[in-house]
C-alpha cells in the first residue's frame, strides 16, 4: 500500500526533472542580462529572414530574431557593450540590411569579431559596428552580389519535357529555371544586381568612413584575408574575441562578460542531430570500406 504512494511520488519527481531539464536547455541561450556586463553575441551560418538555412543543413541566422535580440540588448541598461562574433559567409540582402540597420540604431558600443569567415552580407553587418577585428587568416570582404541559379531548359528538352509559357507581362517569368534568360532579361537582372551592389558599396563606405572609390576598388567580390583587409582598411585590428574584449574593457570599464549561446529551436536541434547522425554513420561506413579495400590490397 505504502509502496504505490512512493512509486507515484518517484514518478512525479522523475517527470518534473525531465520537464525541468528540457526547459533548462531550452532557455540556456536566454538573453536576460542581470548586472552590468559585456555581451558576446554569436552570428553563425547563412543570414536569412527566418533563419531556415537549407535542406541539408538547417539553421543559420534569422535576421528577425537577431534584430529582436539587438533591440533587447539596446533597451537593457545593464548591457555596456556588445561584441558580435561572426562566422558567416553572408546571405539574403534584405536580412543582412535588417541587422545592419538595427546595429546603426544602437547607442551602445558594438564591435565585430570575424572568426573563420565574415564575408558578403556578414561583412556588411560587421561594417555597421564601431570596430572590426579579424584573425590574420580570416576570410572577409567579398563585397558583391550573386544572382546565379540553375537552369534546366536543356535537361528538360533531353527528356521531352516542355515549358508552356503563359504570362501576362513580358518579364513575369524572368528567372524561371525552366528556360534560359533572353538578352533583354539578362540585362535587366544584371542592372538590378548592379543596383544592389552599388547600394552595398555605398553603405559599407559610409559605415567604414571610406570613400566610395576606395570601397568600389575592393568590391570586386573577392574575399580578403584578415591581414589584407587590415591593409585595405576593411577591418580595424587583427585579433580575436579576447582582444576585442580587452579593448572594450580598457575603453568602457571592467565589466564581466556574458556569452549568449545560440539558442537552437527544437526543430533545428532535431535537424542538426539527424545531420550529424547521418554524417557519423557515413564517416564510419566510409572508414570500414577504406579498411576493407586496404585489407584486400594487402592480401
Amino acid at each position: 500500500m505504502r509502496n504505490k504512494w512512493i512509486f507515484g511520488l518517484c514518478l512525479i519527481i522523475f517527470l518534473f526533472l525531465i520537464s525541468y531539464g528540457i526547459m533548462f536547455f531550452y532557455l540556456k541561450g536566454d538573453s536576460n542580462v542581470k548586472g552590468n556586463s559585456f555581451i558576446v553575441l554569436p552570428m553563425s551560418g547563412g543570414i536569412s529572414i527566418d533563419g531556415s538555412g537549407d535542406f541539408l543543413m538547417p539553421g543559420g541566422v534569422s535576421s528577425t530574431q537577431f534584430v529582436q535580440k539587438l533591440k533587447e540588448l539596446e533597451e537593457n541598461p545593464s548591457v555596456k557593450g556588445v561584441i558580435i562574433e561572426i562566422n558567416s559567409g553572408g546571405g539574403s540582402v534584405v536580412a543582412s540590411e535588417d541587422i545592419v540597420n538595427a546595429l546603426k540604431h544602437m547607442n551602445k558600443t558594438t564591435y565585430a569579431v570575424v572568426r573563420e569567415v565574415g564575408a558578403s552580407g556578414a561583412y556588411w553587418v560587421a561594417s555597421a559596428t564601431d570596430r572590426i577585428y579579424a584573425s590574420p587568416v580570416s576570410m572577409t570582404g567579398s563585397i558583391g552580389v550573386v544572382g546565379s541559379y540553375l537552369e534546366f531548359e536543356d535537361l528538360f528538352k533531353k527528356y521531352g519535357v516542355g515549358y508552356e509559357r503563359l504570362v501576362a507581362g513580358e518579364y513575369k517569368d524572368m528567372g524561371t529555371p525552366f528556360r534560359g534568360l533572353t538578352d533583354d532579361e539578362k540585362a535587366i537582372m544584371q542592372h538590378k544586381l548592379s543596383l544592389i551592389h552599388d547600394y552595398f558599396i555605398l553603405d559599407v563606405a559610409r559605415n567604414r568612413e571610406m570613400s566610395e572609390e576606395q570601397v568600389r576598388k575592393l568590391a570586386n567580390g573577392q574575399f580578403y584575408l584578415g591581414i589584407e583587409a587590415k591593409e585595405y582598411g576593411l577591418i580595424d585590428r587583427l585579433g580575436n574575441t579576447d582582444d576585442a574584449l580587452n579593448d572594450m574593457k580598457q575603453e568602457i570599464g571592467d565589466y564581466p562578460v556574458k556569452r549568449i549561446s545560440e539558442k537552437k529551436s527544437i526543430l533545428e536541434f532535431i535537424g542538426l542531430s539527424s545531420y550529424y547522425l547521418g554524417k557519423g554513420i557515413g564517416t564510419e561506413l566510409g572508414k570500414k570500406l577504406e579498411l576493407k579495400n586496404e585489407l584486400e590490397i594487402k592480401s
Binding site: K4, L11, I12
Partner: protein, 149 residues
C-alpha cells in the same frame, strides 16, 4: 455474445480523480514549462508569432508526451493514478485478465487533449455506459478498489 455487466463507479469519483491528476500534472510535473511563457513575458502577441508558435507547438507536444507518461506508467504499474488512489478506484480489464500496456496506452490517449477527451467522456452519457469511448476500444473500465475479482 453475452455482454459482461460491469460494476458501476460513481461518476463524481472519476471526475474528482481526474481533476486531482490534472492538478498534479499541471502544477507539479509541467511547472517548469511556465518558464517558456514567462520568457515570452506573457505577451500573447509574441507567443503567436511564427517562430514562437512553432516552439509552442513543439513544447506542447512534449507536454502531451510527459502527461501521457504519467497516466500510462501509473496505470500500467499500479492500475491507479494518484487521483484514483485517493478516490479508491482502479482500472480493470473487461476480460478480467492482467492489463496489457497497449490497453493502458489506448485508454489514456485522448486525456491530454481537452476537446477530444470531452467527446470521449460524452460517449458515456450517450450510451449510458460506465466506459469512456477509449475504454471501450481498449477493453478496460474503472471499478472500485476493494471489489477485486
Amino acid at each position: 455474445m453475452i455482454k459482461k455487466k460491469l460494476e458501476v463507479v460513481r461518476f463524481w469519483k472519476r471526475v474528482v480523480a481526474y481533476f486531482i491528476d490534472v492538478s498534479i500534472i499541471n502544477l507539479l510535473i509541467l511547472f517548469p514549462f511556465n518558464a517558456f511563457f514567462i520568457d515570452k513575458s506573457l505577451d500573447w502577441k509574441k507567443l503567436f508569432e511564427i517562430q514562437s508558435s512553432e516552439e509552442l507547438a513543439i513544447l506542447s507536444l512534449i507536454m502531451v508526451v510527459i502527461s501521457l507518461i504519467y497516466w500510462v506508467i501509473m496505470e500500467y504499474k499500479l492500475q491507479q493514478t494518484i487521483g484514483k488512489m485517493i478516490m479508491k478506484i482502479k482500472v480493470k480489464s473487461v476480460s478480467d485478465k492482467e492489463l496489457k500496456f497497449p490497453q493502458i496506452f489506448i485508454r489514456n490517449l485522448l486525456k491530454p487533449f481537452f476537446i477530444a477527451f470531452l467527446i470521449d467522456v460524452t460517449y458515456m452519457f450517450i450510451i449510458k455506459s460506465n466506459q469512456r469511448l477509449m475504454e471501450k476500444f481498449s477493453g478496460t473500465y474503472v471499478g472500485e478498489e476493494n471489489n477485486e475479482k
